[in-house]
Amino acid sequence: METLEEMIVSHPFWAGLNPRFLDLLKKCATFQRFDVGQSIFQEGGNADHFYLIQKGRVTLHAFVPGRGTVTVQTVGGGDALGWSWLFPPHQWHFSAHSSDPTEAIVFDAKVLRDEAEQNHDFGYELTRRVSKMLLQRLQETRLLLVDFYGFAS
């Protein structure tokens, strides 16, 4: 079984990270399993953790009056879950639950934020990686807007 340190180092989100930041990450990380259907966070709740998915699948969803619960996106092994923890007001915009048995590395978001404020080298590494994730999600969302599967009539 992989140690927490090995999991952190091998996760794509932290690929190429300077090893001097590893101790900090280890100290604020835990390993968690989520059963199928288990809630990970709720819309409006405090965004006080950052999740890196190791295995499984997580569904992000929103409740739409008149339509019920609508799935917004799914993320899986190798993906990062959520960015609301990094930016005020630190509240989740969507809800998330595991749709497969899921394993994740869970970081204490306040420790990451405080360290990023005090140590700008770490802050740069963190925001660069979160920005890359944001860019990828933005591009995916834009592809949804162009009607990806619609053939010309």
């Binding site: 699948r57 609508v70 799935t71 799914t74 190798g78 749709s99 995916e140 990806f148 599967y149 053939f151």
Partner: protein
């Protein structure tokens, strides 16, 4: 080339705007073989003719075409029923490189009704499973209700096809992925250096799929696409389907990406 008369044996609705016709030659006409990826010109008498990919398993004795209602000919075709006659010219064009895949990993990426031209190839690939490396099928559709051939996915999976299906929008009852099909490529289980990719879908979907495959390390010469253009004569005379120096009806519709990369994505083409 004159159309031959084929009789509709079965008609079924696939999704809200797509339907499948199974057809066989009338008694004065002979059946013909085809390779997956090729297309036929289907003629609705008195209305017009349209190019439609053959989606049948090549071992099947019937021809099968899945069509989306987009214009007057396909609208008229959607109203045909069992026993009605359809004119057929074909088969035309190039096919998927099934025979060249032994020992390679194969990734098939389809978007929406783009699965239809790949259906016959998937049947063949599953039959050749033991000769291939990893066999991965990534499919994207707008919603769960827009998934084509949904009843065939599970049997394919049991025969060794690794399948990932994703949709743009879904109710909470949907247990699969949500997001565009390109998001599945980075984590799909294949060795990029030893992979052949086969893609069919709207051009925008294929463009970004090629981008993601190349980002993962799949060479341009190992990527094959099915291109759709305005095909009329189907034998390279009329020029309606010219694509750079190629005619899609005659040189395509299946192209190796490195041979068309210069033309792919040019708006005027």
């Amino acid at each position: 080339m004159l159309p031959q008369a084929f009789c509709i044996q079965k008609r079924r609705s696939e999704t809200l705007d797509t339907f499948t016709l199974e057809i066989e030659p009338t008694k004065n006409n002979r059946p013909f073989g085809f390779a997956p990826g090729q297309f036929n010109m289907l003629y609705v008498f008195g209305v017009g003719e349209v190019p439609i990919s053959i989606c049948a398993d090549p071992r099947s004795k019937s021809l099968m075409h899945t069509t989306r209602v987009v214009g007057p000919v396909t609208k008229a075709m959607s109203k045909l029923r069992r026993g009605n006659i359809l004119g057929v010219r074909g088969p035309f064009g190039s096919s998927w490189p099934i025979e060249q895949l032994d020992g390679r990993d194969v990734v098939v990426v389809a978007g929406g009704i783009g699965l239809a031209p790949l259906r016959g190839a998937l049947h063949q690939l599953v039959r050749r499973r033991k000769k291939l490396g990893k066999l991965v099928f990534l499919y994207g559709a707008r919603t769960p209700d827009d998934i084509l051939y949904s009843r065939e996915l599970e049997p394919w999976q049991h025969k060794g096809l690794h399948i990932e299906v994703t949709v743009d929008r879904a109710p909470s009852s949907w247990l699969g992925h949500v997001g565009v099909v390109t998001t599945l490529i980075q984590r799909a289980p294949f060795d990029p250096g030893n992979t052949v990719a086969m893609i069919c879908g709207p051009e925008v979907m294929m463009r970004y799929t090629v981008f993601e495959l190349q980002k993962r390390g799949v060479p341009a010469a190992s990527i094959f696409l099915s291109i759709e253009r305005n095909m009329k004569c189907a034998v390279g005379f009329c020029g309606h389907c010219q694509f750079g120096p190629e005619f899609v009806c005659k040189d395509g519709p299946i192209f190796r990406y490195d041979r068309i990369a210069n033309w792919f994505g040019i708006r005027e083409l």
